[in-house]
Subunit: 337 residues, 2 copies
DNA sequence: ACTGGCACTCCATACTTCCGAGTGCCAAGT
DNA sequence: ACTTGGCACTCGGAAGTATGGAGTGCCAGT
């Protein structure tokens, strides 16, 4: 259907269009890439490519630009992920190694990725559902109120304020804390509900209401609606590109946690880089953007995902390289802490 | 210098320009406001106002628009803060009352403020320097590593990972934790350095290196460079306005914590609403924006600041009303939790 | 199957025209 | 001493009008 030269032409069109941001014509193509044939031949090829839906012309008598389908083919078959330069790798290392807690790691990562790709970076916090409980803390903060602090093995710290109408003495709090810790330490979040089901029976009757309150909050807000946290950075980079859609839509989408989560997609294999192009995107208003994402984690375990959002007219090989590299380094950092 | 009618003219110009976004001429003025004089008279007044620097014309033979100085006069002497409508107040209450921890309060607040004013909202987390220590926690997370968790009376939870080369037994950790808590609980952050200076002497020699490590982190990253956290929301609202400067600058500024902090300014009196207009702004690139900010806190104590950033061409009375109202409600919420 | 030639299309740019809102100023009125 | 109507003037923006060039499709020739 598409012989080698036609594929080469498509590749050349994508590359030129990405770097110049202008529709590319047959003449320009043979000038810049040595294809060994004349413009007329290229024109015939381009006619075929257009018929198949890989490229299109904005107006009659203008050059061609790739369609989403064209980018898809390019990403799948015509390009390879571009490794970062030594300098870039070093930059990543030095930039990430100074982090002192999880918030800091995530914050640095998202800024780094934005800077590296000159696009909008999105990073998800290590998922709670795939983490393990390291420590549970109960801190009475006022009469009738207790702060539940939960620390995971990935360094994530979650807090919830709990109302305990019956009050809770310092002593009972200590008791309950000890119980919770022995019960939960080392447990995967998914196993928490089963492990605590019989806990109310283990405490004295007067402590039971408090225990129930704590447990209900624990299960409700932490386990069931396994809170996923996502941050982004580099929105300023959107300004340099002009989207067909007013990029108000894009900014709005970015500020919606839910959309952001869907954007990164379900984690397939850990370190595989996935690309979603233009209309492949679930979200309205992001139809003119592409998302390059990858999972990150420690060892085989994928903890969460991170990625980059940019115009469909994007340097896919370079972006994929950056995303892959950053994902790996973040995994290393997390493993080492 | 400026008689009453000239002031009325300036007020009318500001109001009209804010609502129409078009330079306003003498004819339009007398039509829309019943000033009781003819356009020619207004023209004379406008000439004076222009000479004094309160208004300017974009081009010869165009209407006038206010200068920064004009807005300043308007805010200081020609307008009063506009109270919110009942419906808006109710919206604030219901929206904020569902929050379950500090992160949630701040997150909701910033989104609420952005929605209310249709501009970019900025909220600072309750300042550590003005908070009190409620609880200190030490959690060993791996050999040689301890997580220091610090909880303030405002519900803020800070965490730092600490390397302890010599290691720390569960027992020593408990001991140290108890010491820290008795030492620091209830203390203002400003008083922490003094209170811990003699702490190393109170622990057994083998625990001393660990104690020193913990203290150095505590003092360094929490007290000295009293970490201030700021978040923003509503960047999408920037899209509807077109700034003279490419708003890339604005977005960049928004992603800089430091700039954001400076933006809100030093807290003067708690609930006074302050306005910084255009060039009064410290930051380059925000010269075409104005900031309306106020402190919030519990009782007399100002914990931090929040505000709104928008174009100088802004509905000051309305924005000031929204900022003031939200600041008050946040204070109430914090007081009640 | 490829290539050179050729007529055609159409976008972008630049240039011109034209209208009207708005101004400044002046002389007359109160 | 203000205020006002009148008037000439300015200038930006919209709409219309060339013009050039990049790019195309097609065809006949190799």
């Amino acid at each position: 259907m598409l012989d080698d030269r036609k594929l080469a032409v498509l590749r050349a069109i994508v590359e030129d269009y990405v770097s110049t941001n202008e529709p590319v014509g047959s003449k320009a193509l043979v000038d810049r890439h040595n294809l060994g044939v004349s413009p007329a031949t290229i024109r015939n090829d381009m006619a075929v490519l257009e018929e198949q839906g890989y490229i299109q012309q904005p107006h009659t008598s203008a050059g061609r630009i790739p369609t989403d389908k064209g980018y898809r083919l390019f990403v799948d078959r015509l390009s390879t992920i571009k490794p970062l330069s030594k300098a870039e790798k070093r930059a990543i290392e030095t930039f990430l190694s100074g982090a002192y807690d999880l918030d800091d790691v995530v914050g640095r990562t998202v800024r780094l990725l934005a800077q590296l790709t000159r696009q909008v970076a999105v990073v998800q916090y290590p998922s709670l559902t795939r983490s393990y409980v390291r420590h549970v803390e109960l801190v009475p903060v006022a009469t009738g109120r207790v702060l539940l602090v939960l620390i995971t093995d990935t360094g994530r710290v979650e807090q919830r304020l709990i109302e305990i109408p019956s009050g809770l003495t310092e002593e009972s709090a200590g008791h309950l804390r000890a119980l919770l810790n022995t019960c939960l330490s080392g447990l995967a979040f998914g196993d928490v509900p089963g492990a605590v089901s019989d806990l109310p029976e283990k405490v004295s009757p007067e402590e039971r209401p408090a225990a129930a309150a704590v447990l209900s909050v624990l299960l409700e807000t932490l386990v069931e609606k396994h809170e996923e946290k996502v941050v982004f950075a580099g929105a300023a980079n959107l300004a340099s590109v002009d989207f067909s859609r007013s990029f108000r839509d894009v900014l709005e989408a970015l500020e919606e946690q839910v959309v952001l989560m869907r954007l990164l997609g379900e984690s397939a294999d850990s370190s595989t880089v996935t690309v979603r192009i233009g209309t492949e995107n679930p979200d309205e208003g992001l139809r003119s953007t592409s998302v390059v994402a990858a999972g990150y984690g420690v060892g085989d375990l994928t903890l969460a995902r991170l990625g980059v959002l940019g115009p469909t007219r994007m340097d896919y090989p370079g972006t994929m390289g950056a995303v892959r590299a950053v994902a790996r380094y973040v995994g290393q950092i997390l493993a080492g802490s």
